[in-house]
Amino acid sequence: MAENAVPRETVLALRDAIARLERDRPSGSCLSRWETEGERAGFSASGRSLPMPDVTGQDVTRQADVLPLGVPTLDHAMSGGLPLKGLSEIRVAETRDAGAATGFTLGLAALCQARRKARGELGPILWISETMAGQEAGEPYGVGLSLLGIDLRAALFSRPRNLQQALWIAEAALGFSVFSAVILEIRGNPARLGLAESRRLQLRSLGSGVPVFLLRQAGEEEASSAHLRLLVRPAPAAPFMLPDGTMLTTGIGHPAFHVIAEKTRAFSPVDAYLEWSSHARRFHPLDPVAVPLPANAADPFTVLSASVGRPGGAPALGRVMAFKRAS
């Protein structure tokens, strides 16, 4: 009995220390089913339940290398905003959702660019797109990009032949701190982009201070070195507002996204609806309830899982510490 007492004490002390650490910067796990468990344990990191001022007020001033999106729930989950250094992964479950993810990522890139421009720099954006990704989801379209708020005079597009070239170009670009953002678009979970490669990107990005956005089309969640992984889903746009202030319910307004922060320092996933205003070049939070969906919106189809050609495995038991390689 006496032998057990000391370890038990140590364990309690350690647990206490961990709890203290995590209360300061709540460390994360990934799936929503632990939300209640986590909150029972005292980690109430879910942004909705927190008062806003202490989020936006302190965190932002303390950390200069984050970019607040102006959406409190997301900003809090990302401890202040989008990290301006390092690798962030943005993924969509299906190729047909690629438009939403592209818009969201370009919105982030435009924010980074605006920050650079405020400092009097050119701040070009580099968009590296794997050949297959461009063929499946469409090539970048200059007019549309320009209308979204991207300065085409400061945008470079790269279409490498394979992933190896894409990674090389991304790493080379991260060696030059002129870029305001590097977007690396890939398809699925290629085996050649594993932990080691994402770690290289992460370190290079931390070194040069250029954020990398890994835009993953039709990819599964996978262990990587990215500190942040966001899942983007399409969301119905708010009605179009006419110049006189009336809403045109049949019109389609600003681009809207449903963003789920899958991997953050927050305890549980956080989601938010937001829209991008290309005129003001900023995100606005969007209340999904306020968006009047059309009458026939009741979906008679069940949304099937994206896995095709392989059986869905049994749900994992216990805590998932790291995802298996999806590639």
Partner: protein, 478 residues
């Protein structure tokens, strides 16, 4: 089958070109006959011409079996004319090539002497100024590069040697045989000008390094390239220019020559950056660059120059923005080629796929670029973020209104229900390009129930241009 070429042994056996192979075999049963391969001959000659670049940048083909080198101003580098000729011939001999050569003031005379001279010593193959007539006189008229029929006629008339022609009355012969005979004669004697046309444009500047012991390692080559680039710097600075296109020539010991081209997006003279370009180039051609027993001569040429504006570094310590960007594009292009990096260029067209395109970024330095901006358009259209390269066919089962938006559709084997639609935006074809029958497109911006936004068009006006127009998916909105 006829004989087209002979080696010197066969020549001594008194075989002739044009003779039948069967006849020659009957005379000499031990004859070794190889089928002629003009393409391989041409490739070999071209490789030899590359090899000859070590003597002069002006190397031209002289017929299908010879090379003409313009060595004006190059001889002192090799210890004089005779030494140069000896060097060429002995090196070629070591490479296993049986070659003959001559140096003369005119290409015609050198051509004639190299082929028809009976001189055994190289002393006699270098013709000083003033000795042309004496050297050309004893040669047969075949040495004048005249058409075969003309030569035959001359020989039948007894004018077998060039000296006969030189002594004959000009006017009568010219009337009979046309002006070509005396044109060739004058060219050979140097009375008439005959320019050589070199195979490659002459480089603006070039620096070379001859090595005593050959190098083969990539690092050695890069180090030497850096030294060569440093040698270019002062000349470029004096001229106030920078290079836009560089060529690194690697002369391998066994005679093969590698040429590595590297372009830049802005004029360049910094040795480090030129060497950095070649670092990428070498990495890119890694497998194709077979160093063999090493390279003995390295030469760096500047093929294209442009005036450069000198820039003073400021004291802020921050790297220059546009220079860093140019550096990045150069490195990527040097490694993967021109088409890997592109910029979006807008054009004044209503047809969506013509209004914007991705163009190679190689030539344009980003901030200096002047392009059309979407803000300059009179009306802000609604355009997608991504455009499918080829519009994809969409199945539309039925529409409430025949020329309205669809209610449901199938795209890539998936059913979609339309929640909201905006449109149509009617875009007529550009008849001056597509012809008058090209259908008008009605574009709709469509949002499905989940919130995906698509850009679809109906190809042709209902019942006017097409009976049942097809639908196409053209783009994806954010």
């Amino acid at each position: 089958m006829r004989i087209v070429a002979l080696d010197s042994v066969a020549d001594r056996l008194r075989l002739k070109r044009g003779q039948g192979v069967a006849e020659a075999r009957a005379m000499h049963p031990q004859l070794d006959v190889l089928p002629a391969d003009p393409t391989a001959d041409q490739a070999f000659l071209s490789a030899l011409a590359d090899w000859c670049d070590r003597y002069t940048p002006l190397v031209a083909y002289a017929g299908a079996d010879g090379l003409a080198l313009d060595i004006t101003g190059c001889t002192h580098l090799h210890g004089g004319e005779k030494a140069l000729l000896d060097d060429v011939l002995s090196r070629l001999f070591q490479l296993g090539v049986e070659a003959r050569g001559a140096i003369a003031a005119s290409p015609g005379l050198a051509w004639a002497l190299a082929r028809f001279s009976t001189a055994r010593l190289s002393d006699d193959s270098v013709i000083e100024a003033g000795e042309e007539a004496a050297a050309l006189g004893p040669l047969p008229v075949t040495a004048l590069r005249l058409p075969e029929t003309l030569t035959d006629t001359l020989i039948r008339l007894g004018l077998t040697h060039v000296a006969d022609l030189m002594e004959a009355p000009r006017a009568a012969l010219a009337r009979r045989f046309g002006p070509l005979v005396f044109l060739r004669l004058d060219q050979a004697l140097g009375h008439d000008d005959e320019p050589l046309s070199p195979r490659r444009p002459v480089a603006e500047l070039s620096v070379e390094r001859r090595l005593i012991s050959p190098v083969s390692g990539e690092d050695d080559i890069l180090g030497l390239a850096l030294q060569l680039a440093a040698g270019l710097k002062t000349t470029l600075e004096e001229r106030g220019e920078g290079g836009r296109q560089f060529e690194l020539l690697l002369f391998r010991v066994d005679g093969k020559v590698f040429r590595l081209l590297a372009g830049t997006s802005s004029p360049l003279r910094d040795p480090q950056r030129i060497a950095a370009l070649y670092k990428e180039r070498l990495a890119a051609v890694h497998d194709d660059l077979d160093a063999g027993f090493g390279f003995e001569i390295l030469r760096l040429c500047v093929l294209k120059v442009e005036p450069i504006k000198s820039v003073q570094d400021d004291f802020s310590g921050r790297p220059d923005q546009s220079r860093a960007l140019a550096d990045f594009t150069d490195r990527v292009i040097a490694r993967f080629g021109d088409e890997v990096l592109s910029i979006a260029v807008l054009a004044a067209s209503h047809i969506p796929e013509r209004a914007a395109s991705l163009q190679p970024a190689g030539d344009a330095v980003l901030p200096a670029r002047k392009t059309l901006q979407a803000e300059e358009w009179p009306v802000m259209p609604v355009r997608p973020l991504r455009l499918l390269t080829h519009p994809e066919r969409v199945e539309v089962p039925a529409a409430d209104v025949p020329d309205g938006a669809p209610e449901r559709f199938f795209w890539r084997r998936t059913a979609y229900r339309v929640a909201r639609a905006e449109g149509p935006e009617r875009i007529a074809a550009e008849w001056w390009i597509d012809g008058e029958d090209a259908p008008t497109r009605d574009y709709f911006r469509i949002e499905d129930e989940t919130g995906r936004r698509f850009w679809m068009f109906r190809n042709g006006l209902f019942q006017r241009e097409r009976m049942h127009p097809d639908w196409f998916m053209h783009g994806i909105f954010a």
